[in-house]
């Protein structure tokens, strides 16, 4: 169980605002970790920094012992970090199968697909996320829950070792959340390291054995969800000062 992702003293400044401030943490191979914090805490920025969509002002990110700071997003994906977005992104005018095929056509995805062919691997991924009966339709007419599944499918196409899920539950009904939970659990059982965010604690509580809490770009604490949820500073961040009596 080696360390798969190591983030050290990560800082990101947007003209005057420090979105991420001297943030450090580690994720071990095969772990299932959550990142929590109130809205605007900087969770998405951390994901953007890890996946290369934004460049850190300072700090270092290491994946599998390799320095990936300042690397281009597609290169990071091809090393084995795939991500999903908080706001759903899909190739609107292409069929679901083609949506997945794009990931299968990346350098890393191709290696996985070599054995069975691009079409077959894309269909098998669609089946894994439960969308195989909708393979021939474009995502514009899909309900939101299916789009979340599609996003995970697109990430899976690149054969990731580490999966970054940005708010996979946002905007979903309870039943849809259940479906996604099952899916994520299954992926984790298959050996993918999962790192996900969520601003509502309840969803993450049942799912992850370890959470990292942050507020205003700063690291607060980490540990089992129950412990973190009772942390004074975490409660303060969510509910404001003097709230421990309420909780």
């Amino acid at each position: 169980m080696g360390v798969i992702l190591e983030v050290k003293n990560l800082t990101k400044k947007f003209s005057g605002l420090t979105a991420v401030n001297d943030f450090s943490f580690e994720i071990k191979r095969g772990e299932f970790v959550g990142l929590i914090g109130p809205n605007g805490a900087g969770k998405t920025t951390i994901f953007n920094l890890i996946s290369g969509f934004e460049r850190p002002s300072s700090g270092k990110i290491t994946f599998n012992g390799k320095d990936i700071t300042n690397m281009k997003p597609f290169k990071i994906v091809n090393l084995g970090i795939a991500r999903t977005f908080q706001i759903v992104r899909a190739f609107k005018f292409m069929t679901l199968l083609d949506n997945i095929k794009v990931s299968c056509l990346s350098t890393r995805g191709k290696e996985l697909a070599k054995q069975y062919g691009i079409d077959e691997s894309a269909s098998s991924i669609l089946a894994a996320v439960g969308l195989v009966d909708k393979a021939r339709i474009p995502p514009v007419i899909l309900p939101h829950g299916d789009l979340r599944k599609l996003q995970i499918g697109k990430a899976l196409g690149t054969n990731p070792q580490l999966l970054l899920l940005d708010e996979p539950f946002s905007g979903l009904s309870h039943e849809e959340q259940q479906g996604i939970t099952e899916l994520i659990k299954k992926l984790h059982d298959d050996g993918v390291t999962v790192f996900m965010t969520g601003h509502v604690l309840r969803e993450l509580m049942h799912l992850v054995p370890r959470v990292i809490a942050m507020n205003q770009g700063k690291y607060i604490t980490e540990g089992p969800p129950q412990e973190v949820a009772n942390n004074k500073i975490v409660l303060e961040a969510y509910l404001g000062k003097g709230s421990e009596q309420l909780a």
């Binding site: 795939a82 977005f85 992104r89 609107k92 990346s106 691009i118 690149t158």
Partner: protein, 334 residues
């Protein structure tokens, strides 16, 4: 490797059957009919004037399809397609007249040069998006027009008279007609095929969501430049044929009008269809000939374009095909 060869040989073996099945479908049958019509055209008329109209329409078809490929399938709207059209025209003309290449050699040389320019322009306009890309390509075309017309550069760029008296492709109009028809068919097959194979899926993903494509592990920079090169090769083929057909080329070939022509034609036929570009080009050229004496063709086309944007924003190919299919279904009693 052997697997690939086996697959390709299999595909070749299957091809006649595939062609037969395709010709039986509605779309395929219609295409075959149109092609037969084009092939038999010289039997109907041998007048160089009428054949000339068809030749011009076919050259513009390739040109419009090259724009449609870039705009409709990669999402890169260029307002400077005349860059590739014109430069290839110049190179083809110069190598025909001064180096005495055979016409096909000059054409290959011109198109490859256009591809090289496509590579360079793809690289410099890489970070431009939407209207800025359109502006950037338009400005490059204007710079080229002024540069080629510059008096001081006349010894190397032939000044504003350009190159004239280019040896013709052939003195026989029918031969020219068939050569250009074959070029058109090959160009369309290649472009349509490119949009359907794996690389076409990558292109379309860049069109729909560039960031998402990046997140799927696609080297978007590489594929955008490849797309620019493919588009410029075909614009270059059209430009070279155009210069040979006119037997002259001058700096006006870079003017904004020649960049707008393919856009108008593609929009007429339907963007992101490739074959719509051919329909648009034929309508454009025919209508242009008809209204020539009445008014400025561009004036008429502006009005037609406004009508199309208002009433058939997907172009006329799609709606025409649908109507025709309904009619066809009624005829055969479905």
């Amino acid at each position: 490797m052997t697997k690939q060869i086996e697959r390709i040989s299999n595909e070749i073996k299957e091809f006649p059957k595939y062609l037969k099945d395709w010709a039986k479908t509605f779309k395929g049958g219609l295409t075959v009919l149109c092609l037969i019509g084009l092939f038999l055209m010289p039997l109907v008329t041998t007048s160089p004037y009428f054949l000339g109209i068809f030749i011009l329409a076919m050259i513009y078809s390739i040109y419009a399809a090259s724009w449609d490929f870039l705009a409709g399938f990669v999402g890169k709207v260029s307002f400077g397609q005349a860059i590739f059209f014109g430069l290839s025209g110049y190179i083809t003309a110069a190598s025909l007249k001064f180096i005495h290449y055979p016409w096909w050699g000059a054409l290959i040389f011109g198109s490859l040069f256009a591809a090289l320019v496509g590579l360079i322009i793809g690289l410099i306009t890489l970070r431009l998006k939407g209207p800025y890309l359109a502006l950037g390509t338009m400005v490059i075309a204007i710079i080229l027009q002024k540069l080629f017309a510059l008096y001081e550069l006349k010894p190397i760029l032939w000044g504003d008279e350009g190159i004239s008296g280019i040896p013709p492709l052939s003195t026989n109009a029918i031969e020219v007609y068939y050569v250009i028809l074959i070029f058109m068919i090959i160009s369309f097959i290649v472009m349509i095929k490119l949009t359907k194979i794996n690389i076409g899926i990558i292109f379309r993903s860049i069109r729909d969501d560039e960031t998402g494509s990046d997140a799927s592990g696609i080297n978007t920079v590489k594929y955008k430049v490849i797309a620019f090169m493919i588009s410029s090769i075909f614009a270059g083929i059209a430009g070279g044929l155009f210069a040979m057909f006119n037997r002259a080329v001058n700096p006006l070939i870079f003017q904004a009008l020649y960049s707008f022509y393919p856009i108008v034609m593609a929009a007429l036929g339907g963007i992101a269809t490739i074959s719509g570009a051919a329909l648009g080009a034929f309508i454009f050229v025919f209508l242009g000939e008809i209204v020539r004496d009445l008014a400025d063709p561009l004036f008429i086309f502006s009005i037609v374009l406004i009508l199309i944007i208002r009433f058939a924003s997907e172009g006329i190919l799609k709606s025409a095909l649908e109507r025709l299919k309904e009619f066809w279904d009624i005829l055969i009693g479905r």
